[in-house]
Symmetry: D2
Subunit: 364 residues, 4 copies
C-alpha cells in the first residue's frame, strides 16, 4: 500500500514514472497554515535531478501543481493534493528492460506481486521519482513544524569510504540547519565535498555507482510526543523512511554503536539545567525513549544503497522467456543517489513528527 496512516494524518502517494504524472493526497492537515510556494520550490529543487555531475541530467518541472486543500495561500484542512505531470520521459530507453529484470530494482518482485500488470517503464510506481511527492509533503509539514520552532536538517555522513563528521547530537542551531540546506552538496565538513564528488565521478566513469549514509536531526521537538509499542517515533519514522527506495537500514541515536557499549556508557543521565529544563548529559538515545520524545534532538541515520542502475553489463533473467541473459542499462541515472536523498529523509522525519504532534492538545 502506498498509504500511511496515523492518528491524525493520511498520505496517499500515487503515480508512475512514465505515466501521466505523480502526486500525493495529504488528508487532515491542520487548517489555516500558510503555504510558502517559494519554500516548496526550493525544498523540492534540492531533490530534483540535473544538478551536477553526481546526478542524472533528467529535468523535472519546477513545481507541483496544488490541486486542492490550499485556498488563498492557507491550508483549508481538507485534503491537500499535489500533482506533478511527467514530461521529460524517454520510454524507448527502457524498451528492452521490460523483459530483462534489472538487478537491485523491483522489476522482478513487482512483476510477481502484480502478475505482470504493473507499469515497468522507468520503474513505474517503484521509481525513485515517487519521492518527489514525499518531498512535497515534507516541505508542507516542515513549514508547519518550523512555525512551532521545530527544525529538521540532514547531511551526507558517508559516501563509499569517505566520511563526513556527525551532527552534535546535543543540538544543532537553526542557522547551521539553514546553511546546510543551501549547500549543493550537503556535508558538515566542506573539505569532504570535493573528495566525495571525485569519488562519485570515478564510479560514474566506471559505469558504476556508490552508496552512503545520511544523518538527520530534528530539533526542539517537545518532550512527550509519540506512543508506546507500535506507534512510537522510531516505528513511524522507520515506516516512512523505508518508503524511500534504496534505504536498507536505520539507526537512532548511538544506533548499532550500542552493541559495543556498557549500560553505564550508553545511559544518558538526566539533569535539571539552570533554566529548569530537563536535559540529558549525552544523547545516545537519539531523543526517543520508549517511543516518546525526550525533548533532546531526534537523531537518526539511514543507509542508502548504491544506485542499482549501472551501465556495467550485468547478468539477469528474461522474465518472459525465463532464460539467463546479460543486461546493459543505458539511459540517464544518478551514479550516487545520496545527495538527492537528503531532503527525502528530512521529509520522512517531518511527516512522522507532525503526525504525532497532532495528537496533542497543546499543538496549536
Amino acid at each position: 500500500m502506498s498509504s500511511f496512516w496515523k492518528s491524525n494524518i493520511t498520505l496517499s502517494v500515487f503515480g508512475e514514472s512514465h505515466g501521466a504524472g505523480i502526486g500525493i493526497v495529504i488528508d487532515n492537515l491542520p487548517p489555516g497554515e500558510r503555504i510558502d510556494t517559494d519554500e516548496i520550490r526550493f525544498f523540492m529543487s534540492r531533490r530534483a535531478p540535473g544538478q551536477g555531475s553526481t546526478s542524472t541530467p533528467r529535468k523535472e518541472a519546477d513545481m507541483p501543481s496544488i490541486v486542492s486543500g490550499v485556498h488563498n495561500g492557507y491550508t483549508t484542512g481538507t485534503p491537500l493534493t499535489a500533482f506533478i505531470a511527467n514530461t521529460d520521459t524517454h520510454s524507448s530507453d527502457y524498451s528492452n528492460i521490460s523483459k530483462l529484470v534489472r538487478p537491485g530494482h523491483a522489476d522482478y518482485t513487482g512483476a510477481v506481486r502484480y502478475n505482470g500488470f504493473n507499469d515497468v517503464r522507468g520503474g513505474g510506481h517503484f521509481s525513485g521519482r515517487l519521492t518527489a511527492p514525499l518531498v512535497f509533503a515534507g516541505s508542507i509539514t516542515g513549514q508547519i513544524l518550523e512555525r512551532r520552532g521545530i527544525y529538521t536538517g540532514a547531511h551526507i555522513e558517508q559516501i563509499h569510504n569517505i566520511k563526513d563528521k556527525r551532527f552534535d547530537p546535543m543540538g544543532v542551531s537553526r542557522e547551521e540547519i539553514i546553511k546546510l540546506r543551501h549547500k549543493k552538496f550537503p556535508v558538515l565538513n566542506d573539505k569532504k565535498t570535493e573528495v566525495m564528488i571525485e569519488d562519485v565521478n570515478k564510479a560514474r566513469e566506471a559505469g558504476d555507482s556508490l552508496g552512503g549514509v545520511i544523518e538527520c536531526i530534528v530539533t526542539n521537538v517537545p518532550a512527550g510526543i509519540g506512543s508506546p509499542v507500535f506507534e512510537g517515533l522510531e516505528n513511524s519514522i522507520s515506516q516512512l523512511v523505508f518508503g524511500i527506495p534504496a534505504i536498507k537500514g536505520i539507526e537512532f541515536g548511538a544506533g548499532f554503536g550500542v552493541a559495543k557499549m556498557l549500560g553505564s556508557q550508553n545511559n544518558d543521565e538526566f539533569y535539571v539545567d539552570e533554566r529548569g529544563y530537563v536535559i540529558t548529559k549525552t544523547n545516545n538515545h537519539g531523543g526517543i525513549l520508549g517511543g516518546i520524545s525526550s525533548g533532546m534532538p531526534i537523531v537518526f541515520r539511514v543507509a542508502v544503497k548504491p544506485t542499482p542502475s549501472i551501465s556495467k553489463p550485468q547478468k539477469t533473467i528474461d522474465i518472459k522467456n525465463m532464460t539467463n541473459e546479460e543486461l546493459e542499462i543505458h539511459g540517464r541515472h544518478d551514479p550516487c543517489i545520496v545527495p538527492r536523498a537528503v531532503p527525502v529523509v528530512e521529509s520522512a522525519a517531518n511527516i512522522a513528527v507532525l503526525s504525532h504532534m497532532m495528537n496533542y492538545p497543546n499543538f496549536v
Copy 2:
C-alpha cells in the same frame, strides 16, 4: 478524513508490569489453524527470565491463558486473546524509582506523555515484560507460517566486542533453525558461547550491562509478498521491531554495509536455476526489493542497547521536586537482554510476514 480503509490483521498489546497482568488480542487470524500449546510454551520459555546467569532471576508463569479465539485446539478466526497474570512482582523494589527517573528508561518520557498518570512500577506499560505477549503472537503466527514451509530463526550476532558469525544469507536449513532454537544461548559458532557469557557475567559483577546485535532470517517466503512505499516488508518489520524496547537500529541484507559498496558489488544478479526457479547469486538485498519479497531469505539485523537498569550509581532527576539526584537501582535485572530478545525479534518477523501473506489469494 476523506479517506477510508479496511484491514486484515490487528494486534492490541495491553497491560503493565506490576498490574493485574498483561496480554494481547490478535484479530482476524485465519480460522482452522491448529494451535500447539507445547510449542507456545517452548517458544515463550526462550524469552522467559530466570534461565541462567545472563538473565534476571525473576520467575514468570509457564503459559499464558488463552481466553478466546481457540476452540477444540484450532483458531476460530475471531479475536484470539491471551492473558498472562502478574504474580512474582515486588513493587517495593521500585518504590524510590517512581520519583527518580531511570536513565535509559521511559520513566521521564512516559511521565510527560501521560501527565504523570501512567503506572511507573517496573516500567508499567513500557516494561520489557510486554514483549511476552508479542512472543505469544510470534509463536501463533510462526506455527501458521511453518505449516506453509516458512521458518524463522535468529541468533546472537554480537555481544559487546564479541561477534558470532553471520547466517549464510543464501539460506539456512530448517534443521539449523530448529537446532538454534534449542540452544540456551543461541549462537552459530558454539565457541563463542562461553566467552560471551563470561563477558556478560563480568558486566553483571561490575553492576553494569551489555548490548549486542541479533540477526534474523526468514526462509521460504514466496516472492511477491508486500507492497510498495509505506507497506513494504521493511516498513512493517521495522514498525514491529521498534515495538521491542531497547532496539535502536535495524538493517536489511547488507544493511549499513551498502554504504561502502559499489553498485556492481551490491546488485544481486538474477538467474534461473536448473529447477526453473528464479534465484539471485548473492543476497545483499536481504530478500526484499521495493518492499516486496524476492523469494530469497529475508535477512535483517537489529541493535539491542545495554539493559538500562544497572546497579552502578547514576545521576538523574527527581521528577516531582525537579532536583538533581543520584540513583542506585536495586532489584533483579538482566545484565544483558540480548539472549532473551532473540525470540522477540523472530516474533516481530513472523507477525509482519503473516500479516502480509494474508493479502494473497494463494495463501491457503
Copy 3:
C-alpha cells in the same frame, strides 16, 4: 474485524459467549481521567440480563475486572483492558444447535466465514453477550464526556406497535437524561411502560419475540467535531451501532422522514440567540451537517429486530448433513432485547463522540 479505529482511539472486543470470558482493550484514552467503578457497575447493570419478565433470567457477574490502564483510580493513558469471566453458561442447552443453524442468527454465515471453526456455543463471538464490553467502553467514555458537560440519553421509542413519544430534538436536560437512566424500562411516556411490557409478555408466552426502535440523544457536543466524507459523525456512529447484533437500521435527525419533506421544511434555519450562540430553529439535521457537529443535540434512532431465538418450531437446515430439518430452541432468551439494548446504543454514541473529540486541541 472486531476492531474499530479512529484518529485517536482503538477498540478491540474479544471473547465468546461460552468460552473463558469476554472483554475489550481500549487503546489511547486520555490519561488522568477518574474512573468511577460504581458508575460502571450501574451503567452495565442496565444491560445485564435477569432484570424482569422482558429479559432472560441468565445472570452475569456484576462488574468486569479492569486488568490494565487504570492506576489509583485514574486512566493511565496506556491500553485499558476489561475482562468479564463467563460463569453461568449451560452449553448443553445448545447441543443440537451446533448442527441446526438458527434462523436470524449468524450460525450459518459464521460457519461459512470461518470454515466451521468458529465456536458456535451460544452464538460464540456473535453473541449479544459481546455487547457487555461495548457497554463497559460506553461507560468509560461517557464518564470522560460528562466531565466536559456532554450527556447521552436513550429510550425505547417503539416496541411492536406501541410507540413512546420522541425526544425534543432541540434539547433534553441533564436531569431528564439521568432520570431516564434510572428507569427499569426507559420510556419517556410512563403510561406506555405497562402496555409495552404486557405486549412483550404476550409474545414470550407465545414462544415468540418482539422488535422495536431506540432513540438516542447526545447533548452539548461542541460545534465543529467530525470530518467530511468517510469520517463524519454519522459514519462513525453507524459503524459502531452496526456492531450491535440485531440493529438493522439507523437514521439521524428527521431520518427517513426527510423523504416526504420539502427543502423549505427540512432546512433548519440558523440564528444567533440573545447569548450570542449560533442555534438552529429546528433540528431536522440531528446535530450533524457534512459529518460535523453543529452544536445542536445529536439525535438518532435505530431499528432493533425481534430476538431471533424463539421457542416456536422453525424450519432450518442441518449444516453438517445438508438436510432440511425442524428446530426448537430451548434455553433462556430475551423475548425482547430492546430494553437491554438502550445502554448499548448510548455506548456506541459515547465512543464515537469521544473518538472524534480527541482530535481537537481544545479537548482538555
Copy 4:
C-alpha cells in the same frame, strides 16, 4: 498506540467544488483487471448534472482523466488515481454566500471545524460534486465485481409522497438491473416516472426541493463475506453511504419495519434447495447476518434529504458579523437530488463489497 494494523484497500477523495479539480486515489486494487472506459463514462453520466428538468443545468466534463494505476487498459495494482478538472464554475453565484451560511449545508459546521479556512465556494470539499470521484470508484469496483457475477442495482423508491414498488428481496435478474441502469429516471414501476417528475417540477417552480428514498440490491455476493462487530458489511456500507451528502438514514433488509414484527415473522428460515444451495425462504435480513453475507441478495435503503439549496428566502446568520440575516440562493441547483444519487449509492455498495471480498483467498 499499542495497536498495529495492516490494510487491504484505501480510498482518498480530494478536491473542492470551485478549485482546480476533484478526484480520488484508490490504493491496492487487484492487478490485471480490465478497465472499460466507455462503461465508466456511462456510469458517471448517470450521476452527471444537466440531464433534465429534475437536475441542475450545470455541465461536467465527460470523463475523468486516469492519472495512474491503469496501463494498457488493465489495473496495475498500484494506486489508481482519477482527476476531474473543474471547468463550468461560476464563483460569482456564491459570492454573498461565503458570509451567509446556507441552512442544511455544511457552511457553518465546516467553518467551525476549519477555523474559517476551508474553501466555501460551492460547498468546497463538502459539495455534492465530490460524489463524482466516488462514482468513478464505484464504476471501477463494479466492473471487477461483475466479472465475478456480482451485480448492483438501485432505483428511486420514493420521492416526496410518491412511492415506487420495492425490489423483490429474493432476487433481481442481471437483465432487470441493466435495464434499470439505462432508465433516465430509474424506477421499477414506469407509471410512477411522470408523476414523480411532475412533483419535482412543481417543487422547482415553487423555489423548493424534494427528498426521497433509494433502494439498492447487490446480487450473487457469495456467503461468508464480512466480519463480526465493527467490520461487518452493514458497518462498511453505512460508513461509505454516509460519505454521500444528504443521506440521513440507512436500513438493511426489513429495516425499520422489523420494529413491528414478531420474531417468527422476521426470522428467515433456511432450506437446502434442489440444487443443494442454502437459501432462506424470505429475506428480511437483507443478505447480512452477524455482519456477514448469507448468499441472499444484499438489500438496503437510504433516505435522501431534499436539496438544501432552494431559492425561497431563508433566515440565517452572517458568520463574520454574527448577525441574523435573510438569504436568497440563486445559481443552478437540483430541485431533487435523488435521481442523480442512485449511482452514488450503488458505488458505495460496490466499494464496500469489493473491499471485503479482497480478504478472501477464493476471490480470484
